[in-house]
């Protein structure tokens, strides 16, 4: 804020001269960096391929239609596996995430110095590794199949659920908990009566939202052998069976849309 005096009247401007120049300098540098990066990327791009892309895409599309509807009976089982991976993985994540969130929330953790950092570390490590990478590792550890998929979805989701849940716990209205404690309630009762009712809507919303995300994530796990619809997709791509690929993509889209519809309905019902 810059207030100057001009002919006895006070003049107000948003920034003083120095701040104004600094703002412009930031804009200028950002633009220069953007132009320079554009130049670098452009140099390393083989433009012939890019110009050719529409023709290639058209060619691929032509080979994808019509979808091979005949092969659909072989896909029911993988899509069922995919849904199971998503659902069981989410369930596993929720069961583990609840105590982790309880330990990570500043207002409920048993110990801010020891337990909370451990809980936060669990959350960060789970969140920082993508489920596809979890799946890659788990397939080598426990072998390919649906179980590896469930575990990788579950491990990835613990952090997501626990983080959102512990934030919800930290945002509760403490006066309600205080009031319950003032009646002579024990710690467990204060949690059950003061905290749980307040975070229950958030908890349900988080669970359904993660389930919805997990349906999408579990469709690709088959690419690394962790079961589900990704397995036939991978097989179809490697055998260049493009009509089957298009069918599988259609089924994935239908499943994801159905999942989002269900989760939207459920969330609407809770909130």
């Amino acid at each position: 804020m810059a207030i100057a005096s001009k002919d006895g009247a006070k003049v107000w401007q948003r920034r003083d001269r120095k701040a104004q120049f600094a703002t412009w300098a930031v804009y200028l540098t950002s633009t220069a960096i953007f132009v320079y990066c554009w130049e670098l990327i452009s140099e390393k791009t083989i433009w012939a391929f890019v110009w050719d892309a529409p023709a290639q895409a058209g060619d691929l599309f032509a080979r994808m239609v019509p979808p091979d509807w005949g092969s659909i009976h072989g896909l029911w089982r993988p899509i069922w596996d995919t849904l199971n991976i998503a659902t069981l993985g989410t369930l596993m994540a929720i069961i583990i995430a609840v105590p982790v969130a309880y330990c990570a929330a500043r207002n409920t953790t048993p110990s801010v110095a020891f337990v909370r950092p451990v809980a936060l570390f669990i959350i960060v490590s789970s969140r920082s590794i993508n489920s596809l990478i979890w799946a890659l590792m788990l397939v080598t550890i426990i072998g390919p199949g649906v179980f590896a998929g469930i575990l990788s979805i579950g491990l990835r989701s613990i952090g997501f659920c626990a983080k959102l849940l512990y934030e919800a716990i930290e945002e509760i209205d403490e006066s309600q908990v205080e009031a319950v404690r003032a009646t002579g309630a024990s710690g467990g009762q204060a949690t059950a009566y003061g905290i749980v009712p307040q975070v229950l809507p958030a908890f349900a919303g988080i669970s359904v939202f993660r389930w919805d995300i997990n349906i999408r994530e579990s469709t690709v796990l088959g690419l690394v052998g962790a079961g589900g619809i990704g397995l036939p997709l991978n097989a179809a791509i490697t055998t260049l069976a493009w009509t089957q690929v298009s069918l599988i993509l259609l089924i994935i889209i239908a499943t994801v849309v159905a999942g989002e519809w269900v989760s939207a309905k459920v969330r609407h019902a809770i909130i």
Binding site: V180, A182, T183, G184, S186, Q189
Partner: protein, 285 residues
Amino acid sequence: MLRIKGLVKRYRTGDLALKGIDLDVPDGQVMALIGPSGAGKSTVIRCINRLVEPTAGSVTLNDLEVTTLGRSELRRARRRMGMIFQEYALVERLSVMENVLSGRLGYVGFWQSYFRKFPQSDIDEAFRLLARVGLDHMVDKRADELSGGQRQRVGICRALIQNPELLLVDEPTASLDPKTSRQIMRLIKELCAERKLSAIINIHDVMLAQMFAERIVGLRVGEIVYDGPPDNLTADVLTKIYGEEDWSATIRKVDDEAAEAEEAAAAVIPVELPLPSRDRLAGLT
């Protein structure tokens, strides 16, 4: 009898909130604690049931020393002290009945309370209390569907179902309109008289304090600067508690007939309506 001796509270920030409070509240006395914001009114109340841990001093409730109790003993002591809060502090997403029954949490085990299996005697008492405050038709409503006055009535029921010996009341009318404030204060006073409860009521509104309390204690920056009957609240006393201000409008109510007229009016209403109508109590009229 509640006896507070040399109560000191120093917060971790270093602020000395209470500088050695001495206070005796005999059985059945309704006492108002007035004072400016930050004087330590809430701290006094919270030090009694140890929602805030006192730094030094002693609090004895009917010969039970509260300040030295262990955790489970403190729970048992808290059952004997009902608390009513400024913003009601009901569990918003629970029903009226669950909120009232939560006053019994100190008496039942965890799983019993978790599955809402309270003894029938508790449920009877909850119905009785809700009828007494005019909310028996709201039992199954969720707390967040209620109006301010109705919520505070539920808060009162939650405190009373503890079967307490003392009521700690923290700014019960701060979020209520003037009419509802008077109804709530009258209700608290009546209930204290019915059950021979003593009460400490933190309150901002000097006029309300004068109307409904038999004794007034003035607190200023952690020290008691006035302790006496409501009628002795003169301009000098109010200046001592709150600081320099024109108090004539506040005091006139006590000195003039206006106050007597108002008290008379307050006294007349129960005569006109021997059984308080439920709608009036529920704040619907």
